[in-house]
Every structure is written in structure tokens, then in C-alpha cells.
């Protein structure tokens, strides 16, 4: 096991996939000089044809990635969640809909890597956590890694998947260190994490917390702290939102009878909302207390450090939510 930084795990996944399959290529803004760190050393190893710096034209190059994927390529596009608005038409009208609309003729193995730079004083235009909006649109697989090993293994799966995938990379985790297994220590000599399989991060019996992306670490901290009081909190990381491993969530709630969801997206119609509705519909009789959603407040991200932290879920808010479920 090696201690690897989250952003290095992304880089490892890209390099391994580009070495494995010559149809894989990278495109995005300023990737040759790796301004965000994830695309370091790609240009020198793979050359200009497979490492494309794009103009500021999200609609243009998001669509070009789609077209290339239709004819046999496997593009990886680097972008920020906040720039995705500019290219939404291509993501929705084309990437999400083409396969179904053309009766299964189109196959689009395209990956968008979307960084979420929230929590660092970037203000409202650079801090989006937009995955719930894409959950509402059929046709796109949605990946939300919470640690370096999953980041690497899920990105590799995304590159090999034959459907459009958006990997939401939580910027608050960019510097996170975690254990990533060495390839030679793995049975297949590589780390590939399948979609739709949640991970049990902490086992517990009193309450379940489902964390999304950076919310998983918050949930784990809450679990560890409450353990000292004798409160046993189970933590589940869904890892992918489409497909969603609802089975693990429902069976956990069946055991604990209580559910808190922590999600850095805006609260209304969030991933937390969807998970809450699934449990309300399919696990209602297991519940001993109302479901608690701890998501971002329904307000834009303010620049000032005096206000920004109040928007997001944190250990304090999640702990209070767990206590509320236990009071019932």
C-alpha cells in the first residue's frame, strides 16, 4: 500500500488507461501544463495528438468528445463543474440522449472529469456541486469518489464503461492522502472499482449516515466522535449515484432504523433528497425517526470566509442531525 494524494490518483488512472488503450485521449483547458495537477506528465508521454489543450469553448469541445466517442475513441474531458453550464446542451441534448434516441445505434464511451472547487473562497461562479441536476436526466452515469483509491479505481472504470460518465471530483479532497494499493499487490494487477457498489466505511447499529463525495469524510469523523459516547454510527459511501446501490442503504436502515444523509450539493432536489425519498418509499417501516438531510443551504456560495463555511454540511451539523434521530 502506498500513501497517495487524491490528485495523484487521478493522474495514475489517466496514465494507466492511456497506456492500456490507444483510443483513450485527454482534452481540456490548460491540461498540457497541468494547471490543476491531474494531467501532469501526459504531454511528454503521449504527445500532442492525445493530449489536447482546447480553446475556451465548452460547447464545442464537449461535443467534439461525444463525436469522437461515437466513432471509436474514448475521450476524457477535464473541466470544472461550473464550466459545465456553458456546455450543457452537448451534455444533455447529445451525450445523455443520443443512444436512446437513435434506438441503441450510438455508443458513447466519453468521460467528463468535473472538479468541484467549493469551500476555498472561490465565490458563486466556481463552487458548484451540480451532480443532482444530472441525476434528474437519464443517460449519464454519475461518479462521486471520496478517497484516492476509489478516485483511481472509479475513474478507470469510467474510461472502460461504454456510456457517458461524469466523474465529480471533490476539490476539498484534492490534497487528501490515502492508501492506494500497488498494482502488483492486486489480483488482476490493477485497481478497478465497479459502479453501483457502495462501500461500508464504518459499521454501526444506532444510525446510518450516507455521505456523498466530501460528505463521507464528515460522516466518518462524526461516527468516530460519537463512538466515544457509545453511539454506534454506520457510514455508507455510495461511490456512484447513477447507478445507486440502494440495497446497501436500505439494509443498513433496516438494521439501524435511522438515516442521516450528508451531501455538499444544494439541499433542494439533492442526492440527499433522492436517497431520502427511496428510503421513505421502500424502507419506511424500518424507520424509527424522521430522515435528516444535511446538505448545503439553498443560497449561493458567498466569497467571504466569514460566511462561506455556514453554507456546507460540517461535523457539527451532521452530529446534531444524528442526535435528533436518536431523540425520537
Amino acid at each position: 500500500m502506498a500513501q497517495t494524494v487524491f490528485i495523484e490518483a487521478i493522474n495514475q488512472a489517466i496514465i494507466e488507461e492511456m497506456r492500456r488503450d490507444e483510443n483513450v485521449f485527454m482534452m481540456g483547458e490548460d491540461i498540457r501544463r497541468s494547471v490543476y495537477g491531474a494531467t501532469a506528465n501526459l504531454l511528454s508521454e503521449f504527445g500532442e495528438k492525445r493530449v489536447l489543450d482546447t480553446p475556451l469553448s465548452e460547447n464545442g469541445f464537449f461535443g467534439a468528445a461525444i463525436g469522437a466517442s461515437l466513432v471509436g475513441m474514448r475521450p476524457i474531458v477535464e473541466t470544472l463543474t461550473s464550466f459545465m453550464w456553458v456546455g450543457m446542451d452537448q451534455l444533455i441534448s447529445q451525450a445523455a440522449k443520443m443512444r436512446y434516441m437513435f434506438g441503441g445505434q450510438a455508443t458513447l464511451p466519453v468521460v467528463y472529469r468535473a472538479s468541484m472547487f467549493y469551500g476555498g473562497g472561490s465565490a458563486a461562479h466556481h463552487s458548484d456541486r451540480s451532480y443532482p441536476m444530472f441525476m434528474n436526466m437519464p443517460g449519464i452515469k454519475i461518479i462521486v469518489p471520496s478517497n484516492p483509491a476509489d478516485m483511481k479505481g472509479l475513474l478507470k472504470s469510467a474510461v472502460r464503461d461504454n456510456d457517458p460518465c461524469i466523474v465529480f471530483e471533490d476539490g476539498t479532497l484534492a490534497g487528501m492522502r490515502g492508501e492506494v494499493p500497488e498494482n502488483e499487490d492486486l489480483p488482476e494487477n490493477e485497481l478497478v472499482v465497479p459502479f453501483g457498489q457502495a462501500q461500508m466505511v464504518r459499521e454501526g447499529t444506532d444510525c446510518t449516515i450516507v455521505g456523498v463525495a466530501g460528505g463521507v469524510n464528515i460522516a466518518a469523523s462524526v461516527s468516530d466522535q460519537l463512538a466515544q459516547e457509545g453511539i454506534s454510527v454506520e457510514v455508507i459511501d455510495p461511490r456512484t449515484l447513477v447507478p445507486l446501490d440502494k440495497k446497501m442503504i436500505l439494509s443498513s436502515v433496516e438494521k439501524t432504523g435511522r438515516l442521516v444523509i450528508t451531501d455538499p450539493a444544494h439541499k433542494v432536489c439533492s442526492a440527499a433528497s433522492e436517497i431520502a425519498s427511496i428510503v421513505a418509499e421502500e424502507g419506511f417501516w424500518s424507520l424509527q425517526a424522521p430522515i435528516q438531510k444535511v446538505a448545503s443551504e439553498q443560497v449561493h456560495i458567498p466569497y467571504t470566509p466569514a460566511l462561506e463555511p455556514h453554507v456546507y454540511p460540517d461535523v457539527e451539523k451532521v452530529t446534531a442531525a444524528v442526535r435528533r434521530t436518536l431523540e425520537s
Binding site: S57, F61, M101, G103, A106, P138, N162, V242
Partner: protein, 329 residues
């Protein structure tokens, strides 16, 4: 340019196929045989047929909403196209796409987009794949004068030019975006003038003349295959019918004079090609009429095929959502 006799006759056959297909669509649509809208390509046949005559099966095209003509021009099947309009399982898209979303991946028809301008970046992507892989296929994007104002078009032309991609942008300038005229919405005299902003050739062509469209496109295709980058071709043309079937019943207010429509109808692309073919001695009047009759017969059979094809079952609703299916949602 000397054009092969067989190619001229193929062009005439495809133009008649489109014309007869569209006439049939208008007939059965007004009889209420299928739901939804449809956008007749009548009057514009020379643009798609001339352009696609310059392509191979291994080349790609992407179209727009007025797009029954593009797949037929590329060699697509009228029976599968008609069955798609009827929403049947034997349709090109098994009834999931309808009139605005015909596609045939077996001959490079990447599909059509009801969101205008939106299929153009996709066509750029096919050309990008050719460039990355060092392959010789080209890509061709059809769009109208209305879509020429979309940001996607400008982003696409810039991308294609800076990466020197093998793509041909074909603007079908029929002079109206639904009811809004070209003059009211485009800041330059010709869409092809915009090519200079993207450092590519911009060629204005008589879009009623299939041979002129073929020659301009063939030159652009050669240039693209040689690695010399994209071209923008504007075919100046005219939509003989209403924007979409049924629109005339709801629309209030005229936007084209009868005189203008009549003037353009006198420049019917089929007449122009037939006169040329007959003058060159490639075919007789009678042979041209036979092609018309044969294609009308084929369209008739296609319509019967469509009517007899089954509708999808409700259990087919979720088919083809995913290439790698998922359990939930």
C-alpha cells in the same frame, strides 16, 4: 469537372427519392397516419444530394431537424426512415427517434438533432477522431442559416480550424429560420463570409444546382482528406413548403410573399439537374421520368412496410438506455 454518368444518375435518383418521400409524408401526415411534426425538405434536395455525392460510406454526416433528405442523400433506406416516422419497431431508431432523429450508423449517419446547431460539435468530434488516428475519413455537418447564429457553430468552426480537422460545414441557407428572415438575423451578407473569421475557405454555391454543390463539396473533401483542414460551403436555397407540417394552420401573419415563393419554385432543383443531364446526353427525358416513377414506387412500398411494421411493446420502453446496463435507477 467531368462527373461520372453513373454518379449523375445516382444524384437524380436520390433527389427524386427525397422529393417523393416528402410528398408521401405530407400526404399521410395530413391523413393523420402518424403523430408529431415533420419538416419537408422539398426545394432543398440538391444541397444534401450534391454534398453527399462527394462522400464515401466510411465518411460521416450529422444533420438537423429538417433531415429526411440527409440520410436518403447518404444512401439510407426509405423503408426504415418511413417506419421511424410511423413510430414502428422496424424504424431506424425502433420508433424512439421519429422524424427529427433519423440515424444509420452502418453508413456513417451519426444522427440528427432537433436542437439546432447542436449536432455540429458532434460532427467535429468525428473529424477529430480521424485526425488523432491518422485516418482518411471526413465528416460533414449540415445546418441552416438560423443555426449559423448558434455559438456551437462558431466554437466548432474555430476548433476545426485550429486543429485542421477534416470536416466540411454545409450551411443550407433557405433564408428563413421558421418565419424570421436571414436579413433580420445575420449580420453578414452571406454565411460563407464568416469563414474568413475562422481562416478557412468560404464558398457560396447555388443550392438549387446539385452539380455545383457536388463540385464544391468534392473540392472541400479533397482538401480535408489531404490534411488541409475544414471548409464552409453555403448552399443558397429555398424551402418550398411550410416550416413544418401543420404549422400553416396555427401561424398568424405572412412572412414570405407568394411572388417570392413562385420565383423560387421556378428554380426547382430537380428541373435544373434533369435539364443538365438531358442536355449532356446522360439520359433522356423518358429515362428521367422513369427514375421519378421508380422512386415513387419504392416510397409507396416503404410506406406499406411502415404501416405493416409492429409498434414497440410497452416492455420495450427501457431498451437502449444504456450500453452497459445498470440495476438502478
Amino acid at each position: 469537372m467531368d462527373i461520372d454518368r453513373d454518379l449523375l444518375l445516382l444524384m437524380l435518383r436520390r433527389m427524386w427519392m427525397i422529393r417523393n418521400f416528402e410528398l408521401k409524408v405530407m400526404e399521410v401526415h395530413s391523413a393523420g397516419e402518424f403523430a408529431g411534426g415533420a419538416h419537408p425538405y422539398i426545394g432543398e434536395e440538391a444541397v444534401a444530394v450534391g454534398a453527399c455525392a462527394a462522400l464515401e460510406d466510411t465518411d460521416y454526416i450529422a444533420g438537423n431537424h429538417r433531415s429526411h433528405g440527409h440520410p436518403i442523400a447518404k444512401g439510407g433506406r426509405v423503408d426504415k426512415a418511413m417506419a421511424e416516422l410511423y413510430g414502428r419497431t422496424d424504424g431506424y431508431c425502433k420508433g424512439k427517434g421519429g422524424s427529427m432523429h433519423l440515424a444509420d450508423y452502418s453508413i456513417g449517419i451519426l444522427g440528427e438533432s432537433g436542437i439546432l446547431g447542436s449536432s455540429v460539435p458532434v460532427a467535429v468530434g468525428a473529424a477529430l477522431a480521424a485526425s488523432i488516428k491518422g485516418e482518411k475519413f471526413v465528416s460533414l455537418a449540415f445546418f441552416g442559416d438560423g443555426a449559423s447564429n448558434q455559438g456551437a457553430l462558431h466554437e466548432s468552426m474555430n476548433l476545426a480550424s485550429v486543429w485542421s480537422l477534416p470536416i466540411i460545414f454545409i450551411c443550407e441557407n433557405n433564408q428563413y429560420a421558421v418565419t424570421t428572415s436571414y436579413a433580420e438575423t445575420v449580420a453578414v451578407e452571406h454565411v460563407s463570409d464568416r469563414a474568413s473569421a475562422y481562416n478557412m475557405p468560404g464558398i457560396l454555391v447555388d443550392g438549387q444546382d446539385a452539380i455545383a454543390m457536388y463540385e464544391a463539396t468534392a473540392a472541400a473533401v479533397s482538401r480535408a482528406r489531404a490534411g488541409d483542414g475544414p471548409s464552409l460551403i453555403e448552399g443558397l436555397t429555398y424551402r418550398f413548403e411550410e416550416h413544418s407540417l401543420g404549422l400553416g394552420r396555427v401561424r398568424r401573419g405572412e412572412y414570405r410573399t407568394q411572388e417570392e415563393i413562385d420565383t423560387w419554385r421556378k428554380r426547382d432543383p430537380l428541373d435544373i439537374l434533369e435539364q443538365n443531364i438531358i442536355a449532356q446526353g446522360v439520359a433522356t427525358r423518358e429515362e428521367c421520368d422513369d427514375i421519378n416513377a421508380e422512386t415513387a414506387e419504392e416510397v409507396e412500398k416503404a410506406t406499406e412496410f411502415a404501416r405493416n411494421s409492429p409498434f414497440p411493446e410497452p416492455s420495450d420502453l427501457f431498451d437502449d438506455m444504456w450500453a452497459d446496463p445498470i440495476a438502478f435507477p
